[in-house]
Amino acid sequence: MTEHEVFQHTLEAAIRHYLGAPGEVRALARLTGGATKLTWSFDAVVGAETLPLILQQTPADRLAAASELGGSRIHGAQDAALLAAAAAAGVPAPRVRFALQPDDHLGEGVVTDRAAGETLGRKINTDPRLAAVRPQLAAQCGAILAAVHRIDPTGLPFLATQTAADQLAIFRGIADACDHPLPAVELGLRWVAEHLPPAPRTAVVHGDFRNGNLIVGDGGVRCVLDWELAHLGDPMLDLGWICVKTWRFGGAPPVGGFGHRADLFRAYEQAGGGPVDPTHVRFWEAFGCVKWALMCMHKGLGALDTIPGATPGARRSVEAVAIGRRIEEPLLDFLDLITGKAA
């Protein structure tokens, strides 16, 4: 049997166990994207029904690498609990079918329903079929973020608290581990250290809320994906991150390349998220540029033996080394932000 066939048989056993017979898996395809995590699309035959499903999975041999970047990451059963809490707060989140257990031999992950719609940022910003919903997306994101920040953390003890200073310490650590000191990165980290704002409050923060992690279809935003960086922290982080130029995918407007800050902020306030200070959000956008630059650096150097947690002799994918060459994009955006040249 090929590796792919073994994987399909293992997945079919899990489907039979959690969802029922016959559990046949059809149209199994690996989707692009995901650094350590793999995303699979497939249809599962359960009883007389054919269910469109998604498996997000971190294979066992990648779990060590997944935990080292950006502090603790959310996996498996934790992800399932978080998605359920998000749905209860009114966030359009993926409907969880089951979380993987060690006995399933598929690593850690969750199986969710597959929502119809577009996830590619560039298509969301250019597809003529989405022209009617595009002007509504920034306001929808504002309302959704107000709901994210209302999630009750009571049943989510695994969420770590990360203040802006904690995040700075994490990314300072990544920069030092990479041991590739760049003057522009050092300027960025020092600027962040000198501009740390007091958080208005502490809330459940998505941590990676941006164009590319949203499913957009009829009516607009249908689902918010990729919760693995969720934590307790400054809710303004989420409003700043979706404005980072990298996530505009060539679109001109600052919010995801599809909308305007005023719409995002107004909808957030109207949905009960609390007052938004644009300067505070700009801090997180600028810090987001520095964070993304360091994620690129870490990914590009990631399998070098000098990086802690890396597997000696591991090969680097072309995708990984290509991301390593994207360091300068957010650093130039950062300079534009702090010198008042940015849009």
């Binding site: 000191p181 003057p183 522009a184 990165v185 050092e186 300027l187 020092r190 072309v318 080394v321 300079l335």
Partner: protein
């Protein structure tokens, strides 16, 4: 004329041309994406061969002016990073910001000229 012909840019041009025009149209999904990324990576190498030597000289000259003493480019850049980290330089120092911006713009001319909103550089014919 370089000692070895066809030279490295010519090899890269041929490889990029095959991947982009012949292989890519036959692919879908995961491998289509990976192939596109591979084309981009080879194009970066192609631009680096043309642009990096001149950029390194210019960056070294800027670093010497900024730090006030001679040295090699990489060592000077490390020193500048350390001095920024130590707080020796003001974050709004115009000479510092100009240097950082210039270095980032030059790297982007290799890695992703589109980010600058500039057209890709047209290179002179090789003889």
């Amino acid at each position: 004329m370089p000692a070895i012909q066809p030279d490295a840019p010519a090899l890269l041009d041929a490889a990029i041309d095959y991947l982009e025009r012949e292989l890519l149209p036959t692919l879908a999904g995961y491998h289509r994406f990976q192939c596109r990324v591979t084309v981009n990576v080879l194009a970066q190498v192609r631009r680096e061969l043309a642009l990096a030597p001149g950029q390194a000289d210019a960056e070294r000259a800027r670093l010497i002016a900024l730090l006030g003493h001679p040295g090699e480019r990489d060592a000077l850049s490390r020193e500048l990073a350390a001095r920024i980290r130590a707080g020796d330089l003001a974050l709004d120092d115009p000479a510092l910001l100009d240097h950082l911006r210039q270095s980032l713009v030059e790297a982007l001319r290799i890695n992703n000229p589109k980010w600058l909103g500039e057209p890709e550089p047209v290179e002179p014919e090789r003889g």
